[in-house]
């Protein structure tokens, strides 16, 4: 489980200025589901799942995903942004145990 929090970001190989770019972010995370006991009652505990994903480009927030336990394990998220200037695209994942995982990629024009 040491892989938790590994983030992979994918962007198209060639980006032109002004393009609307579609990017994919994947994070390795268990996204724990609700557990129930024999009586069908929910086991109360702090389930470890990602509840926020923040995408920033050039320091500006482009998209925020507020997620619940209905999102799959090792989730990937797709989003778009308008590539105006070369700079950093950053995706942050926050989970319910206070974990913070992030991945960055530099946007360059070719």
């Amino acid at each position: 489980m040491s892989d938790i929090g590994k983030v992979r970001l994918r962007i198209p190989s060639s980006i032109k200025p002004g393009d609307v770019v579609q990017a994919r972010a994947l994070v390795i995370h268990p996204m724990e589901r609700i557990e129930r006991d024999a009586q069908g009652k929910i086991v109360p505990k702090n389930y470890n799942y990602i509840n926020k994903v923040i995408v920033t480009y050039l320091g500006k927030t482009v998209a925020t995903f507020d997620t619940t336990q209905s999102v799959a394990e090792n989730p990937f998220f797709t989003f778009t942004f308008r590539a105006t200037d070369p700079g950093q695209l950053k995706v942050q994942f926050l989970d319910t145990t206070g974990g913070r995982y992030e991945g960055t990629v530099d946007i360059k024009f070719s």
Binding site: Y57, D66, T68
Partner: protein, 162 residues
């Protein structure tokens, strides 16, 4: 009399803050309280009422495209994407995209907040589906209009467990 009322209010406010702190105490992250409120065990009607307060929803079939498989072999991983026809200018853009799975015990799957910088109103994610049922995408535009589309998905093996 006035003093008294103010002090009572202050006490109540303090209690409220304490209560919220206790509720969020389990997790250290500051945003957890709200996120947990987003995903609750409830029926889809309750969820929609809680999120949108009974505001009228228009059929968004013309501008909202919800992409889900017709048959999901494995309910644990179902790719979903939503594209909205929107100019995405600072005055007219898509503010939120909600994905709601009707039959899930936690019906609200995700809420995506978009900024005009996104360039296109689009989101994609892998979600879980407990059983066959409708998946809805609810789009809230910057002027407050709500658009909804839904598609039925048949799930062979449920993926929500509890």
């Amino acid at each position: 009399m006035t003093d008294r009322r103010v002090s009572r209010r202050t006490v109540l406010a303090t209690l409220g803050v304490l209560g919220a702190a206790a509720a969020g105490g389990l997790a250290a992250a500051p945003d957890t309280g709200w996120a947990q409120a987003l995903g609750q065990n409830e029926s889809v009607e309750d969820a929609l009422k809680r999120l949108f307060g009974g505001k009228p929803m228009k059929d968004g079939a013309a501008s909202v495209k919800l992409d889900v498989p017709l048959i999901a072999e494995n309910g644990a991983v179902v790719p979903v994407s939503v594209t909205v026809d929107s100019p995405m200018t600072p005055t007219n853009y898509v503010k939120y995209i909600y994905v709601v799975a009707d039959k899930n015990r936690i019906p609200v799957v995700t809420r995506v907040t978009l900024a005009p910088e996104a360039g296109r109103a689009f989101m994609g994610a892998n979600i879980r589906l407990g059983e066959s049922g409708d998946v809805r995408a609810v789009v809230e535009q910057s002027d407050g209009t709500l658009l909804v589309v839904k598609r039925e998905v048949k799930v062979t093996v449920g993926g929500c467990g509890g």
